[in-house]
Symmetry: C2
DNA sequence: ATTGCTTTCCTAGAGCTCCTAGGTTGAGGC
DNA sequence: GCCTCAACCTAGGAGCTCTAGGAAAGCAAT
């Protein structure tokens, strides 16, 4: 009986593929084992339990998304960088809906595991870097980062949950929203004083 | 043996309470039945299956959230309305995390069921009404509605998933973001022509 | 080549879950 | 009292998670 050659990584990837194809809630020990041609009990040599597997998928997705954004933003600035960043984010969510959903489920992730994954932290840094050209200073910078991330995440989440009607193309709304955010960043209302000169 | 007096509504409410207390993924037939002092099989007289129960919880939450927003916005306009709307949204999500999560999970909801629930549709109308004062015309109005809803949803979703670091109070970022959105709506870049007069 | 160690993968099984099928019993109308 | 309907039950199949312990593949050293 030949061995399947499982590793933590292969199990995680199989789970991630399953998440994209069948939905994140279909990521179960049994299903992942079936996909790998293995009995479900065998997975427990590589992964502590289902919760840890799902957490690993979430971290994998966060890393992948971050890398994708980093590549898209590289060498760009201002509006170009904003649009590239946002499109990379949305593109990843569209192509990997299951993995993306994994990142937003409130799974308590093992801190030791999370420490190894540079994804989430680096994603924040990337956002700060992208905003450098807009001339914002703290604490406005942090607020702007949070606003942007909220909008990107909220948009793709509502898209995925069919939260938008069918009257107008979401693609167009997306483009217009990015334009609006660009304008907003250029005219950000600073917090330390009113906007009357 | 006295009857528990179950109805679809009571089952749904029990599920919603359970969602808030233990998390939406803990909403199972067994758990809800246990909470109602009943065997799980008994629930199937009132609810087709677990999926329908979760869908009903999602619709209940959407209705409750919409009512809360409607009350908050009533009689207000402009910035006041925007802030009231946003705070009502976030307040509901904070007080009912399980129900709120129910609304964003991609549960395929029975169309017949959804038709009875005025929540989602009315929520959109409310958003349009709130924006009336900003003088936007279609299709910018729709784009602005989508941007706002995305931001509100994304912010509370990231808050719930611990997506923000601990460096700055989320409450402050929230307030500043609302201010920024208000400015954005006042200076929305119209789509039919450039912004050069 | 044989031995021994480690890791991989297995079988077996307990306990929980969803859901169906069919039976019993309460409550209200006649 | 009796009938009917609905509410609630027991029984049971099938799938899932996870543990305990066993078999065997691969590797290293003798």
């Amino acid at each position: 009986m030949p061995r399947a050659g499982l590793t933590v990584e292969r199990v995680t990837i199989a789970g991630a593929e399953l998440a994209d194809e069948a939905g994140f809630d279909q990521v179960t020990m049994s299903q992942v084992a079936r996909r790998l041609g293995v009995k479900d009990a065998s997975l427990y040599s590589h992964v502590r339990n289902l919760q840890e597997l799902r957490g690993r998928i979430a971290l994998l997705a966060a890393d992948e998304k971050t890398i994708r954004i980093a590549e898209a933003v590289a060498g760009r600035a201002g509006r170009d960088a904003l649009v590239a960043y946002a499109n990379a984010w949305r593109g990843y969510a569209h192509e990997h809906p299951g993995r993306y959903l994994a990142t937003q489920t409130p799974v308590p992730i093992d801190p030791d595991l999370a420490a190894d994954a540079p994804g989430p932290r680096r994603a924040i840094e990337l956002t700060y870097g992208m905003l450098r050209g807009y001339g914002l200073a703290e604490p406005d910078l942090t607020d702007a980062v949070r606003l942007l991330r909220s909008t990107f995440h909220g948009f793709v989440a509502l898209e995925a949950a069919n939260g938008f009607g069918h009257s107008r193309s979401t693609q167009e709304s997306w483009g217009r929203s990015l334009e609006a955010l660009h304008v907003l960043l250029e005219q950000w209302p600073t917090s330390d004083r009113g906007d009357h000169p």
